[in-house]
Amino acid sequence: MTTAAPKIEDLINREYEAGFYTDIEADTIPHGLNDDIVRLISQKKDEPEFMLAWRLKAFRHWQTMREPHWQNVHYPPIDYQDITYYSAPKSRAGAPKSLDEVDPQLLETYEKLGIPMRERELLAGVAVDAVFDSVSVATTFKAKLGEMGIIFCSFSEAVKEHPELVQRYLGSVVPYSDNYFAALNSAVFSDGSFCYIPPGVRCPMELSTYFRINAAKTGQFERTLIIADAGSSVSYLEGCTAPMRDENQLHAAVVELVAHRDAQIKYSTVQNWYPGDKDGKGGIYNFVTKRGICLEENAKISWTQVETGSAITWKYPSCILKGDRSVGEFYSVALTNHMQQADTGTKMIHIGKDTKSTILSKAISAGRGQNSYRGLVKVMKSASGARNYTQCDSLLIGDRCGAHTFPYMEVRNASARVEHEATTSKISEDQLFYCMQRGLSAEDAVSMIVSGFCKQVFKELPMEFAVEAQKLLGVSLEGSVG
């Protein structure tokens, strides 16, 4: 055990690469949370009355709730009065109208992150709505998409320009009363992305949002709402990073997806929030509510996520399969290293007839990371002929990490078929030695074995994301073999 072990350690110990901080003048409100702060946020964003009313309702409901602690993660109590709920990059003259008006330093930050923002990215087929701290700074290719009737803009803009759509769908999938963090988000969310695909339109490019938390002690509460009208389809990519900081930052986002008849939404996430250092100091608390509804028949929602960052991840992208023959999918790779904790999984709620869901979860634990899969498959009485297939695989690297599986099943219709398979395996010294005896370095061997483990999920990702995910996994695993 002398040759391979230290290498595996080195691999695990690689540093966070997106951990730079950009010094930009920001418009930040006092920390703390009360009615006035909620009003102030709404006012700063120049929102219509219905939004403020909704926020206040959410805030009052939140005050009656208690932070949940049923998940398998541990962290010191969060002081919600010590968080700043709004931080916007201060621009010189109102909102930027094009990229040229965006603070060059901001653009540089995006450059460093490798976010495609400029025209040349059009060739790559990516339109980006970048959320920097809390305000959407620039949305590309909007005009191009506009010609097809596709609305892709920041949430604030949608509130102003398409209030009827926002009012109709906001909170329709994740009500403000849904859970503690969703209520908090509903009260204070600062911005996010909005997307509407009109009937029969196939969105011609991958839509992409890049989130990045910059300012210290800032919570990021963004809200995403995607609506695919009848017969339309869209593929949406979300990527996340944050600078390295000693204190923990809270990220409590809400994503709502609505798929009408015959519509398809594919939502892919590569999450690389700062995970904290190897002793567990700092890092993002990622408490996110993501849910989609297949509202009418033959709709399909597919979640694919690659989670390598955050100190704590707590999220369950879910599908409500209401329309008959609608389809829900969840493909996940979650990696925890060092002191990271992840409690993630999905919920598939079968309501319509002959609805189908597939869950494929791959959890990788290294260092002292703790990884839990938690999934609910619920088949309602109405859902005759419903089918679910669940597969949860865990891979352990080293002997100080943990993998846990918590599958829940509630089946109320006898014609339903629900299958669950689970495996746990370890990268063994034997596998490593075998690869090395064929000339591979320990690093390459680990990354090859892990990629093999994740292959079924990676093939669900859009091409450019799959490449990024694979790289990220390599980085996050550095020093993990031992």
Partner: protein, 255 residues
Amino acid sequence: MSGDVILQIENLHAQVGTTAILRGIDLIVRRGEVHAIMGPNGSGKSTLCNVLAGRDGYTVTAGRVLYDGQDLLAMAPEERARAGVFLAFQYPVEIPGVGNTYFLRTALNAVRKHRGLEPIDAMDFLTLVKAKMQSVDMDPKFLNRSVNEGFSGGEKKRNEILQMAVLEPTLAILDETDSGLDIDALRVVADGVNALRNDRHAVVAITHYQRLLNYLVPDVVHVLAGGRIVKSGDKQLASELEAVGYAPFEAAAGA
């Protein structure tokens, strides 16, 4: 047809934990030679293979090993592999999700890089590997499967021989590759070794049974007992072993 010395083992002592397993091995292998090392269970056969390949968990307490004039024991396992030392495993491992073709091409390119060659492109590789598969009588469908995943015992061993055929190692070490194989598979192993029989390569085949040597005619046969080579001879020695068994040699080794 013997050429320069490729492997020189001098007074090699090695232990696992605190148990001494190898107790003074001396062996010289030249390019172009096929050596068979035979011995009873527990004589140190697998330990010798693992020490030569650089597996963790073995401590060399005395002696040295020169490979092509270099200090083999100072090299990392992957460096040994790239320099042309190949171990056919007694128990090949499964690597789920990693394609057999991809694995083999990565391995070949690691070796090629070491030799200062360009990486082989996917098409050329496919042509090469298909030809080699034919020589080991393996169905091309195995290319699309994950490394050894769900392979039978015999298929795993064939896969080892396929890897050997593709990588064309300077020194191939077979760790009881013949164990548990039927006659057809034995012939495949023997053919794989015979294909490497020329003045550049050398093979050390470690085996418990004499029957592999019906297909594979070694230049030298060694008897390993009690962690030492107690007798060396030509292929007649193998027949002798078959007749008298290992007991007299174990007694001689004081094991």
